[in-house]
Subunit: 314 residues, 2 copies
């Protein structure tokens, strides 16, 4: 993507993960919500990134992002600091996981400041960071056309007022089903979605891992995107962020208006990018894609869900 | 449905359940796999039922099935016996459940014998009963066009050779995901499906409750049918059997060939009937439907999954 179309901005974590799955382990796995988002979105739109890393962050990963055309003007490098690190172990089902350790490091003092030319970005994605920081970013923006936000159970628990504050500005919120229940206090998913929509986000995407994703849109319509059943899942880390990258990346394309129909197509591009993400550690699978390979998988989703209408009514 | 088109035969349990959900309880709830199957299928095809009940089985339930046009020639009533009874409690998520008690009663001595005119049925569904009995039924049939079968974790454990024997005759097997893993010994669902298909069933339907259902067909294609997110789930009992009823009922309709495309449409009719089933205790919601109401919900599934194709490739 050329830089003229770089109007999609992501703010989030850039990390070094230590991933343990039932089948394999990788100790220095480049990750972070902004990293996965940017890698995935880069195939659909130009992307600008805001984040922070330490001197231990591999230059090869910076190059990988640059090679994908990601604008890294907003990536702060603190030479004598250490990058945010997360260590996790996946269960046999490759869906549930335990956090073994989290070291915030340079992330602890992170106060995102947008480069001047980032502030006019039309599309903003606030990946999963402290909701107070998300709001700080939003207030630096001029007037984005569409704001997406991701969060997690931790912030719903310990930063609920800050989260509710930033949600007032959000057009599309992504959550998993447990988080939707936690935020709304409703167990039933449809009721939970309606309650969350009343907090501000007109559109809600509920991510369900290997069970796909559900969209509740501003018109009260629902859309169900399946996950592609895969023969091999290597590492689910970053699947949700890759989904968000494919989703926002499609919406940021020239000529696409973020309305009901486009949101559905965006859900499929999100699912496509998530399906690639889990096929490798880190962004291994995401970095070497091309438009034809992505389009081929989009067609696989078409095929997966396509059926012929029939009628019982004479 | 008129009796000329009654070429869909179901063999399974007819039961009285005691259902406890987090919200309500019903002590004498008519259930059983054949009951739910027949009620659901009756809107799409004629249905013949083989099963057994005791003198305690409510005549009103017999009338309900007759009113739906179900042929009950094959329903054995043992006046001084007691009907099969199951008692279960659903968890808060309305998906998992604990069996509190099972009393086989008249079912213990059940040796299904098909009335002569049943033996020429074109479509056979062997609902969840002991696999040895399922095979006994199959051997009484002349030459069905399509054989469907449902089973459960118990039979995979304690009657594995009998199950594998009857599976050789099966065209469509329905299982939930845990059962597919148990039967195949494969954790990955795609690999599990391929392994199960090698046991005989060319087509495999994996039921995932509130996450919909997956079809692996004889051509190696996959199809994902969503579940309709519902605002209120009253009682999930019978959802899988209602799915099978809608699925087989559609395939048994005149002019429908049980090939790839029709199997997909059948998956949606299955999902439609399952979605009605869970909206009431027993077959409360299933019994008062009509073609227009069913078709309306079919359209809701169309809307839920429909998206516009786009392309990244110039």
């Amino acid at each position: 993507m050329n830089s003229q179309s770089s109007s999609l901005l992501v703010v989030g974590s850039v990390a070094i993960d230590w991933i343990i799955t039932p089948h394999a382990e990788r100790e220095e796995s480049v990750g972070g919500s902004a990293t996965f988002f940017a890698m995935a979105a880069s195939y659909l739109s130009g992307v600008r990134l805001v984040g922070v890393v330490g001197g231990d962050f591999p230059p090869a990963a910076v190059k990988d992002l640059r090679d994908r055309g990601v604008d890294l003007t907003g990536l702060e490098i603190i030479p004598d600091g250490k990058t945010f690190r997360w260590k996790g172990r996946y269960h046999d089902n490759m869906n549930d996981r335990d956090t073994l350790s989290t070291d915030l490091n340079v992330f602890e003092q992170f106060a995102p400041k947008l480069p001047p030319d980032y502030r006019t970005s039309d599309y903003l994605f606030l990946a999963n960071i402290q909701p107070g920081l998300q709001e700080q970013v939003f207030t630096q923006m001029q007037r984005p056309k569409l704001v997406g936000l991701d969060t997690m159970n931790l912030w719903i628990s310990i930063a609920n007022p800050e989260l509710r504050s930033v949600l007032r500005h959000v057009d599309v919120l992504t959550l998993n089903d447990e988080e939707a229940r936690q935020l709304s206090g409703e167990h039933n998913l449809v009721k939970a979605a309606r309650a969350v929509q009343k907090l501000g986000p007109k559109n809600l995407v509920i991510k369900r891992g290997e069970n796909g994703a559900l969209l509740f849109d501003r018109d009260g319509e629902m859309f169900s995107a399946p996950a592609l059943p895969l023969e091999e899942v290597i590492d689910p880390t970053g699947a949700g962020d890759s989904f968000a990258g494919g989703f926002m990346g499609y919406l940021a394309r020239p000529g696409v208006e973020p309305t009901g129909g486009s949101l559905r197509t965006a859900m499929i591009y999100g699912s496509v990018m998530a399906s690639f993400c889990v096929e490798g550690f880190s962004y291994d699978r995401l970095r070497g894609l091309d438009a034809t390979t992505i389009q081929h998988r989009f067609e696989a989703f078409s095929k997966l869900t396509n059926f012929t209408r029939a009628s019982l009514v004479a």
